[in-house]
Amino acid sequence: MNANEITVAATGLTKRFGPLTAVDGLDLAVRRGEIFGLVGPDGAGKTTALRMFAAVMAPDAGRVSVGGVDVVAEPERVRERISYMPQRFGLYEDLTVDENIRFYAELFAVPRRLREQRAARLLAASSMERFRKRLAGQLSGGMKQKLGLACALVHAPSIVLLDEPTTGVDPLSRREFWQILYGLRAEGVTLLISTAYLDEAERCDRLALLHGGRMLYCDTPAALRARMPGALAEFATPAPRQLRDALQGRAGVLGVLLVGNGVHVHLDQAGRLAELERQLRDSGVPCDGARLVPPSIEDLFVALLGGAGTQP
C-alpha cells in the first residue's frame, strides 16, 4: 500500500444550478488513509462537492476519480467502493438498531457470515451494544448519527464521505464518533468530511477552505494557522465592551471580538501589543493584562474572509 497514493482526485470540478455556480473549478487530491476536511460557510459548495464524489450528482465540467475509477464514466463501480453519509442519513425509525444495520448489510450485499461480526464490531466501537434492540426513532441525536455511521460502514468501504456528520451531536458522542474515524484511518480508509465547525476541522489531517464554490487554501491545520496574517491577542478585562470600543479603529487593529471573559484582538503585528496596552492605560480603560494566543482555524478563516459573506 502506497501511503501517497491518491484515492480521490478532482480537476476543474464544476457544478452549476441555473445562474449559481455551486462548485467552481475545484482541484483536489486526497491521499489514502487521510482524513480530509472540506470546510467553509453555508453555500461554499461542500455538500455539492461531496455529492459529486459520491456519484449521486453529475458534474457540469471537470473530472473526478474515486479509488482510481472515473466517477462520470462508471458511477456504479464507484458506489461499491465508497460510503456516503448525507446530512440526513436514511435510518428507519420504526426498526431497531440491529434491524437498521442488517437492512444496510443486505442492501450492500455483505456476505451473511461477515454481517454479524461487522455489526458487533461497529456497535462496540460506538458504545451502542446495549441499545441493539432499541428503535432507531427512540435514540438521541448523537446515537442516531453513530448508528448512521455504523450503517454506512457495514460494507467495509475503502473511502468514506461524510456530510456534516456531527451537527447537533453532544461533545461526548462527538469524541466517540471521531475515535471511530481515527480507527478507520488507521486501517487505511480514506475519509472526506465536510464541516462548518472549525474546532472540528482541527482534527483533520488536511483541510480545504472553500468559499463561494472555490478552494481558497489547502493544507494541514498547523500550516494553515501559520498563514494567519499578523497576530492574535487576548485581553482580560472586567469591561469588555468598553475595551472593544476603545480599540476598534486604532492603528494596527484589524478586528475585535468579544468572548466570554475578555476580548480577542487581531493585530497587524505582534509588536503592537505593548503599545495598545499603554494606550488603554492612558485612556483609563480597565485591562487586567494581555497576551498573544495561538489563532484557531476559525480565527484564520475570519481573518481571510473578513469582508466576504455580506450577501443574503
Partner: protein, 320 residues
C-alpha cells in the same frame, strides 16, 4: 459589581422535575445577574431543555422555585413569559413569508402594541443587518441571515430575558461571530441571556457556563476557570510515529490518566506535565516510537467537559 444588593434577573432554587420514575432535573440552584450571558452545556438528555421549559413556565416543577425579575414562575407564568424571548435552533420562521411579514407576524404573537410595532420592526431590521431586505422571502436567505432575523423576531417585545436554544447550529463562522456581537450588545443593554449549546466555541462567548449532567449542575463557572480547574492534571500533546502504536503505548503507561487521538497527535493527561514529560518521552522512545515530541497544551472547554462528564459517570458506577 454594584454595591447595591439587587434582585438577580433569574433565580432558581432547589429545582426538581420528575417524569414518573425519571428525575430529569434534581436539586438545581443558580442565579443569573442582569446582563449576564449564561451557557448551558451537557450531553443530549442531560436536562438542559427541561430547565429551559421550566423557566419559561411551559412545565411545572415537581419541587423548588424559579423567579424571573422577582416574579415567581409558578404563581404568574404569563407575566414571566411576557418577559422572555425565545429563539430555537430551528429558527421557527415562515419561509414563504417575507422578512417584514415574519416580523409583523411575531410582533402580533408577542402582543407588541400597535403604535410601537413600526418602530420596533425598523430597529430589528437595523440590528439584524436586514435593512433593505424587508421584502426578501425568508427561503432566499442564507443561514446566518435567517438566524439574525429569528433573533430580531424574538426581541420585538423587548424581553428582559433571552433564551437561545443551540442558536448557531449549522451557521457559518463569520455569521456566528456577527450574531454573538449582537448578543453581547443586548447583554450590555441589560438583557439576560441563557444559551444552550453543544458547541464549545459557542460556550466560550458566555460569561459563565453551567455544565449539566443527569439533571444536576456539575460545574458553574467562567469558561476560563472551568478550563483551568476541570482537569485532574495537565494536558500534553504527544506526537510520534506510528500513531496507532503511540496511542497503545500511552494507554498502557500508568502515569497517563487519559489518552485520546486528536488529529495527528495524542492528547494525554498527566499529573504534572513538566516533571513527567522527559520520562514519558524516554519511555516512548524505548517502545520504538519515532519522532517523539511532548508539549504542554491548554485544555479546551471540550477537554474539560469530556473529562468531567466521564468522571461523573465513573463516580456513578459506569454509564447509566
Amino acid at each position: 459589581m454594584s454595591a447595591m444588593p439587587s434582585i438577580p434577573a433569574i433565580e432558581v432554587q432547589a429545582l426538581g422535575k420528575r417524569f414518573g420514575d425519571f428525575a430529569a432535573v434534581s436539586n438545581v440552584s443558580f442565579a443569573v445577574e442582569r446582563g449576564e450571558i449564561l451557557g448551558f452545556l451537557g450531553p443530549n438528555g442531560a436536562g438542559k431543555s427541561t430547565v429551559i421549559r421550566l423557566l419559561c413556565g411551559l412545565l411545572r416543577p415537581t419541587s423548588g422555585r424559579i423567579t424571573v425579575d422577582g416574579i415567581d414562575v409558578g404563581r404568574d407564568p404569563e407575566a414571566v413569559r411576557r418577559r422572555i424571548g425565545y429563539m430555537s435552533q430551528k429558527f421557527s420562521l415562515y419561509s414563504d413569508l417575507s422578512v417584514l411579514e415574519n416580523l409583523q407576524f411575531f410582533g402580533g404573537v408577542y402582543g407588541v402594541p400597535r403604535q410601537a410595532i413600526g418602530e420596533r420592526i425598523q430597529d430589528a431590521l437595523r440590528m439584524a443587518g436586514l435593512a433593505g431586505h424587508a421584502d426578501t422571502p425568508v427561503h432566499a436567505l442564507a443561514g446566518g441571515w435567517k438566524q439574525r432575523l429569528a433573533l430580531g423576531c424574538a426581541i420585538l417585545h423587548r424581553p428582559r430575558v433571552l433564551v437561545l436554544d443551540e442558536p448557531t447550529s449549522g451557521v457559518d463562522p463569520l455569521s456566528r461571530r456577527r450574531f454573538w456581537d449582537l448578543i453581547h450588545d443586548l447583554a450590555a443593554d441589560g438583557v439576560t441571556v441563557l444559551v444552550s449549546t453543544h458547541h464549545m466555541d459557542e460556550a466560550e462567548y458566555c460569561n459563565r457556563v453551567a455544565l449539566i449532567d443527569r439533571g444536576r449542575i456539575v460545574a458553574l463557572d467562567t469558561p476560563a476557570n472551568i478550563r483551568r480547574r476541570a482537569l485532574d492534571g495537565e494536558l500534553v500533546e504527544v506526537r510520534g510515529t506510528p500513531l496507532g502504536r503511540l496511542l497503545e503505548a500511552l494507554a498502557a503507561y500508568p502515569p497517563v490518566r487519559d489518552a485520546a487521538v486528536f488529529g495527528n497527535a495524542v492528547h494525554a493527561l498527566l499529573a504534572r506535565a513538566a516533571d513527567e514529560a522527559p520520562a514519558l518521552a524516554a519511555y516512548l522512545a524505548g517502545r520504538g516510537i519515532g519522532e517523539v515530541a511532548v508539549a504542554r497544551i491548554e485544555p479546551t472547554l471540550e477537554d474539560a467537559f469530556v473529562r468531567m462528564i466521564g468522571r461523573q459517570a465513573q463516580g456513578a458506577g459506569g454509564a447509566a
